[in-house]
């Protein structure tokens, strides 16, 4: 009998990265469906267009870098970035806005740093923040909740702008967070009772709920770990309830902070990015908690109504530092944290 000596690893799987990314993309589908239900075909068009652009650019840049194109495309990371961007950008964004966002995400934020695994910043959030600062007018037009636009009209807005569409007076509306930001001295109760807020809030709750469902699926499959999302949601809930307790007419409740804007999307799909977030468990807890606090602080005191992209980027740049001080104890050594 021959017993050959084989070195480890003894069980080798297929390219797991591609599968994981595919699962994450699948988990965004409930949210995509609900966003399409509430805000029209805008996000669907965004996602498809961004995916086409992202795959083209990814292939081109891998070609320029003289790497095997098919192998790197198969990790689906460009597709995931495109899907997240398409969901995050406002529905019916002009096509060039998508192009700039995808270009800065795929080329600048990812491949100039050496491709997947080396990017210190979340590519989708770099693309989002860049277009938010460069084109604030286009980026602050979110579709009316419950809008009813045909596919043809939606495509026309995306490619030719709003002025070419006949028979529609308007298709945009302030989001709940916009309304809270610009409410002035009006008390929150009166704001929530107003019909424009009611419809927007309902849509936002449903969409956030869908992201939470998708995220829980990823948690059950153990594709993402619970540390960062739980820390983020807890810190956001805590800080918002403190302010709510101090003045409930001025600051919205924690329920509203947790279920509007990009909170759930960020918690489960953005801050759990394994590349750009902190690595160790303790580090992830710090990372998530800090994002929750930053989101609240920027939403409440800054000039932007939504803060997820900025908070994630701010903590991305702090992640290597967090990792440096939260290294897990290696076997046989003293813990470096308590020393």
């Amino acid at each position: 009998m021959v017993l050959p000596q084989i070195t480890s690893p003894h069980i080798s799987g297929a390219n797991r990265t591609g599968q994981l990314m595919l699962w994450v993309i699948l988990a965004t589908l409930p949210a995509l469906a609900l966003q399409t239900y509430w805000y029209g075909y805008g996000n669907l068009i965004n996602v498809i267009l961004a995916a086409l652009m992202a795959i083209t650019m990814e292939a081109a840049i891998i070609r320029i870098r003289r790497r095997p194109v098919v192998f790197y495309l198969a990790d689906n990371s460009a597709l995931l970035t495109a899907v997240l961007l398409g969901l995050a950008l406002p529905p019916f964004s002009p096509w060039w806005l998508l192009l700039i966002a995808v270009l800065s995400a795929i080329v600048f934020a990812k491949h100039l740093y050496g491709g997947l695994g080396n990017n210190p910043f979340n590519p989708a959030m770099v693309g989002y923040a860049l277009v938010l600062i460069a084109f604030p007018v286009e980026m602050t037009r979110w579709a009316t909740a419950g809008i009813d636009l045909s596919m043809e009209d939606s495509l026309r807005i995306t490619f030719m702008g709003f002025s070419d569409v006949n028979g529609i007076d308007s298709w945009t509306h302030a989001t709940p967070l916009d309304l809270v930001k610009h409410k002035g001295a009006q008390p929150i109760d009166a704001l929530i009772a107003s019909p424009e807020m009611g419809q927007g809030l309902k849509a936002a709750y449903w969409v956030n709920f869908a992201y939470a469902i998708g995220g829980s699926m990823l948690l059950c499959l153990r594709i993402i770990s619970w540390h960062a999302p739980v820390a983020m949601l807890t810190s956001l809930a805590l800080i918002s309830s403190v302010f709510y307790w101090v003045d409930p007419q001025k600051y919205p409740s924690s329920l509203m902070h947790l279920l509007t804007g990009a909170t759930m999307m960020g918690a489960f799909f953005i801050i759990t990015d394994p590349v750009s977030s902190a690595t160790s468990r303790l580090g992830k807890l710090f990372y998530g908690a800090a994002i929750g606090i930053l989101v609240y602080v920027i939403r409440t005191f800054g000039s932007y109504p939504e803060a997820m992209a900025f908070s994630v980027l701010l903590m991305n740049l702090a992640a290597p530092f967090i990792d440096y001080y939260t290294r897990p104890r290696s076997y046989g050594h003293q813990s470096s944290w308590w020393r």
Binding site: F108, L112, G114, P120, G302, Y304, F310, L313, L317
Partner: protein, 193 residues
């Protein structure tokens, strides 16, 4: 009290000297490739910037204003800063060899840090009082240190990555600095100062 707190928040985050006002970029690029040196530099800068903003305030208030020599601000501040830095170095060298070993080579470098002169001039322009001047200098230094330390940890990680040839070294550091600046835009509008 609230005013002083706002000065701190403003200089550390909202109007960060490096990422929003683009002052002190030379040490930001030059001394950020290692975390250890960045920490040394941050300590030294915090020390000098606070003292220098105090001294330049005194110079302006009690020397230049009474003699109506405000047009000599820039040159006299440069002189004061150089003097303060040199004096600090000698003092530290004599009194605390340990501190000198930590801060040692960074101290002369700070003389040429434009953030130091920038703080002194901005203090006059914004008409800050005695305590406000010191806090403004201290806040600027804390903001500088925060960004420098985070950036150096980030650069250590980037250096380990597979950056394409033309973008190695300073080029990717510039792009990173740009994205960091983008992230700090999130604080816009938080404090109106």
């Amino acid at each position: 009290m609230v005013d002083y707190l706002l000065i701190l928040v403003s200089t550390v985050l909202v109007n960060n000297f490096i990422l929003v006002q683009f002052l002190g970029l030379c040490p930001f690029m030059g001394v950020s490739s290692k975390l250890e040196t960045a920490m040394g530099m941050s300590l030294a800068t915090t020390f000098v910037l606070t003292i220098a903003s105090l001294c330049s305030y005194l110079t302006s208030r009690y020397l230049l204003k009474p003699l109506q020599l405000e047009y000599l601000q820039t040159i006299s501040f440069i002189l004061v800063i150089a003097f303060v830095v040199q004096f600090t170095e000698m003092l530290v060298h004599k009194t605390s060899p340990l501190l000198h070993r930590v801060l040692g080579i960074f101290l002369p470098l700070i003389t040429t840090n434009c953030a130091v002169l920038g703080v002194a001039l901005l203090n006059i322009k914004k008409d800050h009082g005695f305590l406000a001047s010191i806090l403004y200098g201290f806040g600027a230094a804390v903001g500088f240190s925060l960004v420098l330390i985070l950036f150096s940890a980030l650069r250590e990680r980037i250096a380990a990555g597979d950056v394409p040839g033309p973008f190695k070294g300073p080029a990717i550091a510039m792009i990173t600095a740009g994205i960091m600046s983008l992230a700090f835009m999130g604080f816009t509008g938080m404090v109106a100062l």
